[in-house]
């Protein structure tokens, strides 16, 4: 299976490991992540205002490129996924945004949200399946108690993201089960890590990350996994638990040769 793939700015720089492990793990599962040619940064935050057009354009360019090459687009970074998925929804549902974006971009075929946007986790769950993942595991993480940290952007607003139950998600726990680990459920797994406010007020993010890690540790977690480079940063800088990209644990369980993968 070959699928279009949008890595995003941080996966080319600070979060290379999230990207590389994701690609290698996908290979083991028989999927080639085909990087979109000439993709641009998604902007990192979804433009909530309905009269913001320019900040939606890079997402639409990626979405159109995917539409013209198979119709599906896989994302990996939580923030990219959030932005691109919601902009796609705007192009489906908001006539004003759709008209202005198409007037500006003037594509040969106007875009109206035809692309299907899938997060890597959804690719695993819906296209590959947990059983197929489990069958390919050669080094199960037996006995490892791991907390899935969702943060905000993957799940909310659930009416638009439609990935999972926003208050009681299961997708990352099912991944952990598939690779042989024991998922730890803790109440703060879908609470905010402090996000971009860490730029201006790092002490605020520190208090959030500490609360999240303490909660996970109290529930028995020995480590956390995340899909978001900013969550990874905030948790790693300030928390008390080891933090991993979820693709790293997946790649290790699938027997990817981790030597030479730049961390």
């Amino acid at each position: 299976m070959v699928v279009n793939y949008f890595p995003g700015c941080t996966l080319k720089t600070h979060a290379k490991y999230l990207d590389l492990c994701g690609r290698k793990a996908a290979e083991k599962l028989g999927v080639e992540l085909r990087e979109l040619p000439e993709w641009q940064c998604c902007g990192a935050v979804y433009p909530m205002a309905r009269d913001e057009i320019a900040t939606r354009l890079s997402s639409v360019r990626a979405l159109m490129s995917a539409r013209d090459n198979g119709g599906e687009l896989v994302t990996l970074c939580s923030a990219c996924h959030h932005v691109i998925k919601r902009v796609n929804g705007d192009m489906q549902r908001d006539e004003n945004i759709r008209t202005k974006v198409n007037n500006y971009l003037k594509p040969e075929t106007p875009y109206a949200g035809e692309t299907t946007v899938l997060h890597y986790l959804e690719l695993l769950r819906d296209k590959i399946g947990w059983d197929a993942v489990r069958e390919k595991v050669v080094k199960p993480l037996e006995g490892k108690k791991i907390g899935a940290y969702y943060g905000c952007l993957l799940l909310r607003p659930s009416a638009e993201m439609q990935m999972d139950n926003a208050e009681n998600p299961t997708i990352m726990e099912n991944l952990l089960r598939a690779i042989g680990a024991e998922p730890v459920i803790y109440s703060m797994r879908n609470e905010c890590c402090g996000g971009y406010v860490t730029m201006e007020d790092s002490s605020f993010a520190a208090s959030r990350a500490k609360a999240i890690c303490d909660n996970a540790a109290a529930c028995g977690a020995e480590a956390l996994i995340t899909a978001c480079p900013l969550c990874y940063y905030n948790l790693k800088q300030n928390g008390s638990l080891p933090v991993y990209d979820f693709t790293q644990l997946l790649a290790e369980a699938l027997g990817v040769d981790m030597e030479g993968l730049e961390q």
Binding site: T10, H14, E52, L155, P157, M199, L230
Partner: protein
Amino acid sequence: MKQENLIDAVRDSSGVNPRKCMKCGKCTATCPAFEAMEYHPHQFVDMVERGKIEQLMQSKGIWNCLSCFACVERCPRNVKPAQLIEAVRLAVIRQQGMNHLKPEQIPELLNPDLPQQAITSAFRKYRK
């Protein structure tokens, strides 16, 4: 901008009708930054409804909203307080010379591990 134009701008760009709010306070109860917002989310919605946009534009709390969408997800009336906060923030930074974050401030805020995503996000939220 004139007061009535400001009210229209915030309501139009947010797409939110603050009159749907039944003042249950769930947004404030769930907000991870509520202590850092001098007008808590439910009060913020109420102040938009009362047209106190300039007062909100002066408040420091608008820069502390994390856009985590907890209030949006959990509001039983689908009011979307985060979108009102974003609209007020935009009403500030869309004015000439009113950016909250300037490029020359960036070097001192950087550390070697900070992901690009944080810088891009902050720029998108804090300046035009």
